[in-house]
């Protein structure tokens, strides 16, 4: 990969309850591109994704060895504050998880916890984030309604808007469309395309067509190992490894 990398992992290993869940993963994630992680269930792609914002810290009995850097800084270094890291590395989850608050408060939550108090400023951020997430027109008249009243697709775009509101550098997406219908999925995919101008997106998906459609780079994982990583076109058309080819052509999965 010739482009400048924003995240690199070097020989990353992770054990969960003694089980070796990630084995010697070394990869580079290029800046302002969409990188997809594909692979069969349980291959460690979500685990890898959750390493990038250290969300695995929440789980007991997880041991990590190896190095992950963001902007050339080791994210496990003692000088790195995990809260600051997560501000830089946003995340959208598999199941939409809006807070049980109003639509407005869901978006404003992030800026507020990072110290924005001014109401005008918050209004501006909320509108901008919702516009950016292509949700503004649908919700602008009911910002004070509960976010739980939105449809699944709207909720997921709300979660994306919520992430955008804290202006991260990287957005992690953990199978963001798996709980959505095809129309909502198409909207999210368009959104991802637009996001890459300003953000770096890493998306985990079990849907190979989706990976082919939205990503510039693709990494294929199998049993905790990163088998192959490169330009999406190359991975899908001329994979270097036989394992990758077998998976992509649907011989297992």
């Amino acid at each position: 990969m010739s482009e400048s990398a924003i995240i690199t992992t070097n020989n990353l290993n992770l054990w969960y309850n003694g089980k070796h869940a990630l084995e010697s993963v070394s990869m580079k994630v290029p800046k302002n591109r969409v990188t997809a992680l594909i692979g069969p269930s349980g291959c460690g792609k979500s685990t890898l994704l959750r390493c990038f914002n250290r969300l695995n810290d929440l789980i007991d009995h997880v041991k990590i060895a190896g190095e992950i850097t963001l902007d050339d800084e080791n994210i496990h270094a003692p000088s790195i504050d995990v809260v600051t890291l997560r501000k830089k590395v946003g995340m959208v989850f598999q199941k939409p998880n809006p807070f049980p608050k109003t639509i407005y408060d869901n978006i404003a939550y992030g800026p507020r916890v990072h110290g924005v108090r001014d109401t005008c400023e918050l209004d501006r951020i909320v509108e901008q984030s919702l516009r950016h997430a292509a949700l503004w027109d649908e919700v602008k008249d009911r910002l004070n309604d509960s976010a739980l009243g939105l449809s699944g697709g709207q909720q997921q775009r709300l979660c994306i808007a919520r992430t955008l509101a804290v202006e991260p550098e990287v957005i992690l997406m953990d199978e963001p469309c798996s709980a959505l219908d095809p129309i909502a999925t198409a909207k999210i995919e368009n959104l991802i395309e637009m996001l890459k101008a300003d953000y770096t997106v890493i998306i985990v998906t079990h849907n190979m067509q989706q990976a082919a459609r939205v990503s510039d780079y693709t990494g294929f994982m199998y049993l905790g190992k990163l088998i192959e990583c490169g330009k999406t076109k190359q991975i899908f058309e001329h994979p270097a490894e036989e394992l990758t080819e077998n998976y992509i052509t649907g011989r297992f999965g």
Binding site: L58, K87, F93, N97, P100, V113, G149
Partner: protein
């Protein structure tokens, strides 16, 4: 199933046996229906008898005069029956207890659910449950001996039996309820909310204070209301430490004034009142008022929960209650008012407390913008940890005081001899046996009725009008203060059924009191049995009753047993329900039949502590034995539960 046939043991049922089966099913169902309806019958009997005996006073004095009359002097030459001071006393004690209890409980609940490591949590949760297991008369005993003395010395006043003592003691008693229920509520907030908030870069404290606690608000509100219910209905502990002067504190915020609650009045006067007199009727009037107050508390709990749920899932078109700006102002004003009230209260205790708190507030308001979120988190975690330590310290102080002073009294003679010299000398053998008799009888009555009712509610009906009525009945029964059971037992079982003050009357009264617990816990464990098991059995052609008795109930047994043991523990520690129905203070002999009165440990301790000076050693000994007995039951229940939980997890 009928396995006597030939081919493979299974034959189609002939017409006759089929009819027999239907008949059996029907009769089983009606038995269960009766047990379920029993709760409703009991509630209506309680209401009926309380109103029957209370009506003369309402007629003679008038409801308004009764409720708002400023003087309670039932034994004066010209008796006055105004319960206003008692109502105010109840409200003030409750208010004080909540101010003491809510911050500590929330801190402790947050610590247990969010900060403690799994190992620490495994210790803390049972510890809090133990706090719940201590009988109220033991709390009262501790309050009378230790707490009131402490207050008397620290504030240099003639008697420590004050509003402050009552509020602190009742606050302690409300701790376990509020902690466990709100801890449950916080723990059951979906994990996704927490991850979502942390992924945005919120600190743990921001996540807790702005996402988890608001999401758990309905559960926390329920916890606080349950705590209020516990405090309002408490009799023995408050009676022993509140001083019981039927006055309104002067000035109203004077925490060091004695006062008297509705429940304490019943506890004190019910034993000495001539049956059928005006005074007797007035006491039943108080019981009615008490019942209505607890009813209002329970109903408001239901309403608040409903409202919060509604608000959270509301879909569209609803304007928020107030515009955000105004709401912020209203909240601010409310906070300032609450602070002002608190400060005024504290001036009555000590002149320097108010300025110190005021200064801390100013410091916080001024310093807030300069503190990083990290610092605020550290500060908040310190406070939360402090709250937990205080709760544990309270538990430790109570237990160690009673164990240290009680152990020297324990001896073989103490456990096997009858009391002498009004309990100053000798042992407590008849009291131990009496308590065992009482709880054995109570559980023998409550268990079949309670399990039957739960089976009917879960297995035989769909949610509808009938279940709603029954459930409301169970809820009402659950919220009824134990002293009201005592009065009902006296009016209905002792007098109306003419059983006299007897073991049987006490057993029935206790059984009615623990019935809701048995129903609830059984219901819970039945609901936990997966529907697929029932369907699997029914699909094999088993009848409903066969399915219930052979497939549903066996795996639910651990839950039912846990509930039963908890009920036994509760029954063993209760004083108020048996005070007028079953017990005598000093008896050298064991009861010959269920129609004789008995001694009981809680009542024995109560009389020793309040009426027999110079029995220090035996008081502590009795308290220790009672404590060990009750906590023993609770510990067994907790063990049974964790054992089967672990087993279920595999």
């Amino acid at each position: 199933m009928d396995f006597t046939g030939k081919t493979n043991g299974v034959t189609p049922r002939s017409g006759n046996t089929a009819r027999l089966f239907v008949l059996k099913e029907r009769s089983v169902k009606s038995v269960f229906f009766f047990t379920a309806a029993f709760a409703v019958i009991v509630v209506s009997f309680i209401l009926l008898f309380l109103f029957r005996d209370a009506s003369p006073i309402f007629a003679d004095v008038g409801i308004a005069n009764f409720l708002f009359g400023p003087v309670w002097a039932p034994t004066a030459a010209e008796p006055l029956y105004g319960i206003w001071p008692l109502i105010v006393g109840t409200l003030l004690v409750t208010l004080g207890a909540m101010i003491f209890s809510v911050p500590l409980s929330l801190g402790c609940a947050i610590y247990i659910s969010e900060l403690a490591s799994p190992k620490v949590r495994a210790v803390l949760k049972p510890a809090v449950e133990l706090l719940a297991g201590i009988p109220s008369v033991v709390y009262g005993f501790f309050g009378l001996i230790v707490l009131t003395n402490f207050i008397r010395v620290s504030f240099d006043i003639p008697s420590g039996e004050t509003w402050l003592a009552a509020s602190v003691l009742l606050g302690i008693m409300a701790l376990p309820t509020i902690i466990s229920v709100s801890e449950d509520a916080i723990s059951s907030v979906p994990h996704e909310y927490k991850e979502g908030s942390l992924a945005i870069g919120a600190t743990r404290w921001q996540t807790i204070s702005q996402v988890l606690v608001p999401a758990a608000l309905s559960g926390i509100a329920a916890a606080i209301i349950l705590g209020i219910g516990r405090v309002v209905g408490e009799t023995m502990a408050v009676l022993m430490v509140a001083g019981n002067a039927a006055i309104i504190p002067d000035p109203i915020w004077n925490l060091l004034s004695p006062l008297r609650t509705l429940t304490a009045t019943l506890g004190i006067e019910m034993g000495e009142v001539p049956v059928g007199s005006e005074h007797y009727s007035a006491l039943f009037g108080i019981a009615v008022v008490l019942l209505i107050i607890t009813l209002i508390i329970n109903l408001s709990a239901v309403a608040i929960l409903h409202w919060l749920k509604e608000r959270r899932t509301t879909t569209a078109g609803k304007q928020p209650f107030l515009a955000p700006e105004t709401r912020r102002k209203v909240v601010f004003i409310a906070e300032m008012l609450a602070l002002a009230v608190l400060l005024v209260f504290l001036t009555s205790v000590s002149w320097w407390l108010a300025p110190v708190i005021l200064m801390a507030c100013c410091l916080w308001l001024a310093g807030r913008p300069y503190l990083s979120e990290k610092r605020i988190q550290t500060l908040a975690f310190c406070l939360v940890g402090l709250a937990t330590i205080i709760v544990l310290a309270i538990l430790f102080i109570i237990l160690s005081d009673i164990v240290v002073h009680g152990l020297p009294a324990l001896s073989w003679d103490f456990l096997t001899q009858p009391p002498r010299d009004l309990g100053r000398e000798g042992g407590i053998f008849p009291a131990i046996i009496g308590t065992l008799y009482l709880i054995a009888g109570a559980i023998a009555i409550a268990l079949p009725l309670g399990v039957g009712a739960a089976v009917y509610l879960v297995e035989y009906t769909r949610e509808g009008k009938i279940t709603k009525v029954i459930r409301t009945g169970v809820d009402l029964l659950n919220g009824t203060p134990s002293i009201v059971f005592g009065l009902f037992g006296f009016a209905f079982i002792v007098l109306y059924l003419n059983l006299g003050v007897s073991l049987l009357a006490g057993q029935i009264t206790l059984a009615l009191m623990v019935l809701p617990t048995v129903i609830r816990t059984t219901e819970e464990s039945l609901k936990n049995i997966p529907q697929s098991l029932r369907e699997g059995s029914l699909a094999l052609g088993a009848t409903k009753w066969q399915t219930i008795s052979q497939v549903v109930i066996p795996p639910a047994v651990p839950g039912i047993v846990t509930g039963a043991i908890l009920s036994i523990g509760r029954a063993a520690g209760e004083t108020a329900p048996i005070m007028f129905t079953a017990v005598v203070f000093s008896s050298r002999f064991l009861p010959d039949s269920v129609f004789d009165p008995v001694m009981a440990l809680p009542y024995h301790l109560f009389i020793l502590a309040t009426n027999v000076p110079g029995s220090s050693m035996n008081k502590y000994g009795t308290a220790l034995v009672l404590l060990l007995l009750v906590i023993g039951f609770y510990a067994v229940a907790i063990l049974v539960r964790t054992h089967f939980q672990n087993k279920a997890r595999g």
